[in-house]
Subunit: 174 residues, 3 copies
């Protein structure tokens, strides 16, 4: 099995200044560590709520052919939330089914789930997925879309990942 | 409690010429009057199906910092329906969860609900929501998204509204 | 009853080179033949996965006032999938409810349904609908949206179609 790299970008003014410890990035790590058999190299960045930094980081990570890039934070209606908008700008193709399904799943927990503009898309050989900023909501959202991620990575030519059978099974149509 | 202003824009060639009485605008008034405790100033306009008039009115209302602006009409496939397209042009951020949820709720009543391109978005400190033109469908759609509106208004810096406990409860996460 | 024309565009490099027989186009024919009472003229094209050819064909078919145009194939994340992106470019109005509902219906069968960016939209007097490339999934998706198609065609000024009562009933609100 190849070593695979996964990119994690936490958007938070306060966490980036060290005012509190980011819990969302580690939660994404935990989620995929339990499900991916390959050795994983993590590229993990905590940045302020600044669209330019996010833009350049997404470009850089996808230029490095990191197959899976997850953002956390910045998906809501507040003025300093812009993660989905930057994601749409960076991606050559948007996959609206990710956002639809993550909102539908979150909506079972909180009615404010409709306020998230989270989306997913493709740039080069990278799948970029926007996750919520709340650590508790991350596994919830990923559970809703996880089964489709391995096949998506295959289709875009990302390194092949072996998945465990934990939780909803990764699904690769024949 | 502050006085809050709510904007209502009815799009209808015939109602704007006085050929029939607009029932949709008053239905939106009724809906929010029953749910908001603040004194409400209504800014209510009935305009023809003209994209330029809608565009300038949305700009004007959001420049006046009206926190909540509801449109009714013009969300379908017909050539003179363009409300969602103008809304997307005016807004700096689209919240696709509103349209998704309103269509899902309407779909329980009529299969043609998928024909509505209704959406919602943010311009400055205003939340703009597209509602259907049929008076009966307005409460149906609002019931699907209502619980998330107060928190959305808080996040964008709109005047604080106090909501009654009528129907689905307004939800503000702590 | 008028004779109506329906456009079918199959996107497949291999089928267009004759390496295998297209099954998706005929499946779309079968579906509508069983449901539309009018005599149907089919405009059926099998083209390679080439965005320019799709673009010009959609323009040509809608310039000819073909009321209903269905594409099959090219809706996924792979580099040579671009049907929804070309559809969005060609259309003056997108009807996101079609894609949402088709994904929701497909999701009952396979978790990878969220990877389809399939959409629908209007150009002039044509409704363009993206269907999946897998023949088995075509009826599944169409069943989810079929009931709204006749009314949509009426609203955009396409030739009037008479529908049979097979399967989910065509629905025209009064």
């Amino acid at each position: 099995m190849d070593i695979v790299t996964i990119g994690i970008i936490t958007l938070s003014d306060r966490a980036s200044r060290g005012e509190y410890k980011d819990l969302s990035g580690p939660e994404i790590k935990r989620y995929f560590s339990e499900r991916i058999k390959n050795r994983i190299d993590w590229r993990y960045e905590v940045i302020p709520d600044d669209p330019d930094q996010l833009y350049h980081l997404l470009i850089e990570m996808s230029d490095l052919e990191i197959g899976l890039i997850c953002t956390t934070g910045g998906t809501g209606p507040a003025p300093r939330d812009f993660t989905p908008q930057v994601t749409e700008k960076v991606c050559s193709k948007i996959l609206p089914g990710f956002g639809e399904e993550m909102r539908r799943v979150s909506l079972r927990a909180v009615p404010t789930a409709i306020l998230s503009a989270q989306t997913a898309g493709i740039r080069k050989k990278s799948l970029i997925i926007n996750l919520p900023g709340k650590p508790r909501a991350i596994a919830e959202c990923l559970d809703g879309v996880y089964a489709a991620i391995p096949y998506c990575l295959d289709l875009i030519g990302a390194p092949y990942m072996e998945f465990t059978q934990k939780g909803s099974h990764a699904f690769r149509p024949k």
